[in-house]
Symmetry: C2
DNA sequence: GTCTATATACAGATAGAC
DNA sequence: GTCTATCTGTATATAGAC
């Protein structure tokens, strides 16, 4: 009985994805510096040399991990259908946005990008463009259309979009990313989100 | 001529503060993991053993640094004098708050607390209580008084305080903490801040 | 208290067999 | 491509002289 699989190509890609998965777990869980290539290899069930064969060095592996994770976390743009009324969009956006950014994986990803951004600014740039920048632009564009319709009075849609999104991020996100013992409770969070929607509507209402 | 100083006690405390200053620079600049005790010693102009004599181990030294830095960055509570009109307080708060949180040292401190919070949750707790938590409470209290005066209509002052502060933090802070190449320009920031004040006043106006 | 010298461990990365 | 064994540097922490 031979030692190699029936399809060597599938075997190759399988090992590569095993390594990527292992590295994702460790980098996102413990950060860049605290993760060793030995751990990555053991966790993936391969030898260290195999890791180096596929990804060259630690930085390249790290970049590959961040890149793949950024692609996974994207909010659908269907949400910003211009035909939808403002209130519905605000409520949906608030719900989807908070669900996304407060998830365990998004928090880990954000934390790692902050820590790693100092030395590897490419990482932070990837995260910024795939995440915050993209969403802000989409939402601002939607608000422009609503402004044109006369539904709202917004002199600067880009600013308004930011105000809404960063307001929502707020305390719940900060507590999680600081890893505090007591996160914001779901009931309190829901009340806060509703408040934000109401606040936004009144602040930018057309009289 | 003897080698020791006239006052050995002053000499001791001087070395301790030298070490603390050196460690602050390195921890805030490069993070916990990327800072070695050797670097701290060299940067302070003392031997490594002296560092250990004063602070025991790396974690203790780190905690001491964060604790001292948190104490330095505190916003005066004179700002929330109940006699002051809302508009003045909002403008002053917005200016002082953004100045503080966008400063180099505050960004570094924030970054380090996020990175270190995973393993040493005491660090993040220190930061949270001395910074965000304290300011939110002060501002919420002021808003309660204004609500009682009938100047504004705020059903939940705690939420309103958060909305204003986290909205201000916004993109400028995120870009800095991610260490992106292109930070928000001062002119654009000022415009955004003014927008936030106007938005808040309209959103919570008493008709 | 402060120094120099050292013990011990583990990191990133590579050599060479199969 | 994949593995085991190893090189080389550097980290935390300590021992012992002064």
């Amino acid at each position: 009985m031979s030692n190699h699989e029936a399809n060597p190509i599938e075997n190759k890609t399988s090992k590569q994805s095993l390594i990527l998965e292992s590295a994702s777990e460790l980098f996102l869980g413990n950060g860049f510096e605290a993760t060793s290539m030995d751990q990555v290899a053991i966790n993936a069930g391969v030898s260290k040399q195999t890791v180096y064969s596929h990804f060259g060095n630690k930085e390249s592996l790290f970049t590959a991990v961040i890149e793949s994770k950024c692609k996974q976390h994207e909010i659908t743009q269907d949400l910003f259908d211009p035909a939808r009324p403002l209130h519905d969009v605000l409520v949906d956006l608030a719900r989807h946005f908070t669900d996304l950014i407060l998830s365990d994986e998004a928090i880990s990803l954000h934390r790692v990008c902050i820590a790693g951004g100092e030395k590897y600014s490419q990482i932070a740039q990837l995260f910024w463009q795939a995440g915050p920048s993209w969403l802000q632009a989409q939402f601002a564009h939607y608000l422009e259309l609503k402004q044109a319709d006369g539904e709202v009075v917004i002199c600067n849609p880009k600013n308004a979009a930011q105000q809404f999104l960063y307001m929502l991020k707020g305390e719940a996100h900060l507590r999680l990313i600081l890893n505090l013992d007591d996160p914001v409770q779901p009931a309190q969070l829901n009340e806060y989100i509703d408040d934000c929607v109401t606040f936004f509507e009144k602040g930018y209402a057309n009289q």
